[in-house]
Every structure is written in structure tokens, then in C-alpha cells.
């Protein structure tokens, strides 16, 4: 969806047009839900996060700065909400070394497509939140470095470095399982 269409919808929302907000929800419902789903790997939590994201957007539309892309703004809310859930989830738990293989690691020569997908999602699940975030934005929301930098509030060089590390970690884990 073009940025101009988003900007026009935001202006219409601020003028009290609730149909314009429905248009924004229809446009971003799927990527926001998938972003949360891949960050949290829990459909129920992803649904709650998606709902919270849109309601926060609705309530804070006046703080949206149109010089930024609308999707960057809403994905940023989604990433922050997901990170909050992840932090709450891991609070009090021992931190997992993302470089270590999972306990059930071992070559898996006879995995079918669905099982391979499960192994990949397990590997993402073991990444630290900052590494998971760049993988999710790159592969599941299909953002480039510039967008990811805007969404995460970091510079593009740091995004590139995090993505490089995250890919290496995933590759190592998938190699241990004989998947790559």
C-alpha cells in the first residue's frame, strides 16, 4: 500500500472517519499478526498483541509523525509489544545461550517439509529478542535495512550486523540438525 494512501487514511481518522481506520486495519492486520506470531510463536498471544497494537495506534494517532512511514510506526509498536511479552516471559528464567544447540539437536535426515519448518521455527525461537526481531522483520514482514532501522530505532549498520549474526546462528543450528 502506498505511503500516500496510508497518510490520507490517518488524516481521515483524525478527522473522525472510522471507516478510514478500518482500512488501515485491513491493510496491516496480516503483517502485524504475523510479526507477533513469529516473535512469540503463540497464536493466542499474537492475536492479543495485534489487537493491542491497533488500539494503541488508534489512541495515539495524533503522535504519529507523517514524515515517517506509517507501517514503520505500527510495526514499531508491534515489535515493542512483542518484546514486552518476551521479557515478561523470560523474567526469572535462566537466559539461554543462543549459540548452544537445542537439547534435541542431532542430524535429522528424514524430516518432511512440515518438520523442517518446525526446526526452523525452533531455531528462531532460541534467538535473543534483538536477533529474532531482525529475522522477523527481514523474512516475515519483508523490510529492508532502512525500514528495519526506522522500526527498531537503531542505525542501518547495526541492523546489518545483527542480521549477519542472526543468520550465522540460525545456520549453525540448522546445520547441527542436518537441515542445511
Amino acid at each position: 500500500m502506498g505511503e500516500n494512501v496510508d497518510a490520507a487514511r490517518v488524516r481521515a481518522c483524525l478527522a473522525g472517519d472510522s471507516d478510514a481506520f478500518a482500512g488501515l486495519v485491513a491493510e496491516y492486520e496480516k503483517p502485524v499478526y504475523n510479526l507477533a506470531l513469529r516473535m512469540l510463536r503463540d497464536p493466542e498471544e499474537a492475536r492479543d498483541i495485534a489487537q493491542t497494537v491497533f488500539l494503541k495506534a488508534w489512541q495515539n494517532l495524533s503522535t504519529y509523525d507523517p514524515k515517517y512511514k506509517f507501517y514503520s510506526w505500527i510495526y514499531r509498536i508491534a515489535i515493542n509489544e512483542s518484546l514486552n511479552v518476551l521479557r515478561a516471559r523470560t523474567r526469572g528464567m535462566e537466559s539461554v545461550d543462543e549459540r548452544l544447540p537445542a537439547e534435541d539437536a542431532g542430524p535429522s535426515d528424514l524430516l518432511d517439509g512440515e518438520q523442517v519448518r518446525g526446526v526452523v521455527l525452533d531455531a528462531i525461537d532460541r534467538l535473543k529478542p534483538e536477533h529474532r526481531a531482525v529475522i522477523v522483520l527481514k523474512y516475515f514482514v519483508e523490510r529492508d535495512y532502512e525500514d528495519m532501522a526506522e522500526i527498531l530505532g537503531i542505525d542501518a549498520k547495526t541492523v546489518k550486523s545483527r542480521l549477519y549474526t542472526a543468520r550465522q546462528l540460525l545456520k549453525d543450528r540448522l546445520a547441527t540438525r542436518g537441515v542445511v
Binding site: C13, L14, A15, G16, S18, F21, A22, V25, A26, E29, K30, P31, Y33, N34, L37, P43, R47, A50, Q51, F54, L55, W58, Q59, N60, L61, S62, T63, Y64, V116, R117, V120, L121, I135, Y139, F140, Y145, K160, L163, Y164, R167, Q168, L170, K171, L174, A175, V179, V180
Partner: protein, 240 residues
């Protein structure tokens, strides 16, 4: 894979991102040709990339969109609209309040109003039909500021409340239970155990609440803090 490791990684990353130039591609090909470890690394990262890209997007659960739209409707107007209009509303309510007090002063016995409790009320009218379709009030006291507007839409009365409070309080909406009943509201609303009263909790900070009633106005509002009524107002619109 010891010479030019950084350069190799940079080229592989560019390749995975589809941002590699023809010259860089040739350079990468040369490096891969020279080093079997580099070839293995490149192959594994390419397969990892492909596996990630092959994971399909899930469809959002049915009902998510409707839940979001319903939730935004319960929360009332978008914040931006509220923020922009609030200044005008406060100004209009203030002027309305001055007019009410002034008229009362000149039409009455000339003595100033003795009651401390006050709220200002203004109404917009559909002049053609001489029908009041919207009524507004502003209640301000002891660090609380509540702007209330009542709209009629057919049989439905919608009360929108926007509060700004330095400490928690509550707003009681007094209704005639024989003529009016609560049809819908957010979780911050309770019936307070009385048939003639609907209570909205006002947390510290800014808060917006929307209540839908069926039936007839007027609605009387009581702003309360620490069990005391500190301001009141009355909202009334024409019957359908």
C-alpha cells in the same frame, strides 16, 4: 577461509540480500572457487535463507478485525481528533458556562451563585428541526477535568467522556431507570449496585470512555473524589 573473511562475509550478506553488483558477484565467485570452506558456508547460508523465505504467512484469526474495530469504537474518537478539538471544546464550554452564569445572575436576584458545585453545559442544535442532537458539558474541579458529550442516534444515546485527572476519581451517571438503561460500555464502567446510577472509574491521567444508553435523557453527571461530589452537570437531547 582465512584471507579476506570480512570481505567474504560482506559479499555473502549482499548476495543473500539481493544487493550484490556484477563486480561483487564476480569477486564472490573467485573467493568461493578458491576456498571449499567458503563454498560450504555460502551454501549453508543460502539454504537457511531459502528455508526462512519458504515459511508462509499465517492468516490472522477470524474476528480479529472486527474485535479491533469494536474496541476502537468503544474507546471513542481517535486521540488526534480529541486533542485538536479539546481546546475548542474547553473554550466553547467556558464561554457557554460564562453565559449561563451571567444570564442567571442578571435574571435572578443579582446575587452571585452560592453553590460551589458547577459544570458548564452547551448544546448544538439542528435549527431546521429545532431538535437538540448533541449536548456537552465540562466539569472541572480539584485537579479533575472531564469533558462529556451526549449524542442521540435514533433510540441510542451515546455518552463520551474524556477525563484528565491528577488522582483517581469517579463519575456517576444518574439515570431514570424507568426510562433509560445502559446498553453497552467498556470494562471501566459499573452499575455500582444501583439501578439509577452508572459509575465510571476515572484513573489518574488521561482517560476516554464511551457509554451507550437506550431510552431518554436527561443524564445527570456527578464528579466524585474521595466519596465527595465535587462537580455536577446535566445533559439532555431531544427525544427521537
Amino acid at each position: 577461509m582465512t584471507i579476506g573473511n570480512d570481505r567474504l562475509h560482506e559479499l555473502i550478506q549482499a548476495d543473500l540480500d539481493g544487493a550484490i553488483s556484477a563486480a561483487e558477484r564476480a569477486e564472490l565467485a573467485r573467493l568461493l572457487l578458491q576456498d571449499p570452506d567458503a563454498r560450504r558456508l555460502h551454501g549453508q547460508l543460502q539454504r537457511t535463507d531459502r528455508l526462512l523465505r519458504d515459511i508462509p504467512a499465517d492468516e490472522p484469526p477470524a474476528g480479529l478485525r472486527d474485535a479491533v474495530i469494536a474496541g476502537s469504537a468503544r474507546r471513542g474518537v481517535a486521540a488526534g481528533r480529541w486533542n485538536r478539538l479539546s481546546t475548542y471544546r474547553i473554550a466553547a464550554a467556558f464561554v457557554g458556562g460564562l453565559l449561563v452564569v451571567g444570564i442567571a445572575y442578571f435574571l435572578g436576584d443579582g446575587s452571585p451563585p452560592g453553590r460551589e458545585l458547577q459544570g458548564s453545559v452547551s448544546a448544538s442544535k439542528d435549527l431546521a428541526a429545532a431538535t437538540v442532537t448533541e449536548s456537552r458539558a465540562s466539569l472541572q474541579a480539584e485537579g479533575f477535568e472531564v469533558e462529556a458529550s451526549l449524542h442521540r442516534d435514533g433510540d441510542r444515546l451515546r455518552l463520551e467522556l474524556a477525563s484528565s485527572a491528577a488522582r483517581p476519581g469517579e463519575l456517576a451517571v444518574k439515570i431514570d431507570p424507568a426510562a433509560t438503561w445502559l446498553a453497552g460500555s467498556a470494562d471501566d464502567v459499573s452499575l455500582a449496585g444501583k439501578r439509577d446510577e452508572v459509575t465510571v472509574r476515572l484513573p489518574a491521567g488521561r482517560h476516554v470512555s464511551v457509554l451507550d444508553f437506550s431510552g431518554a435523557s436527561p443524564l445527570r453527571l456527578e464528579l466524585r473524589a474521595e466519596g465527595r461530589v465535587i462537580a455536577e452537570a446535566r445533559l439532555s437531547v431531544s427525544e427521537p
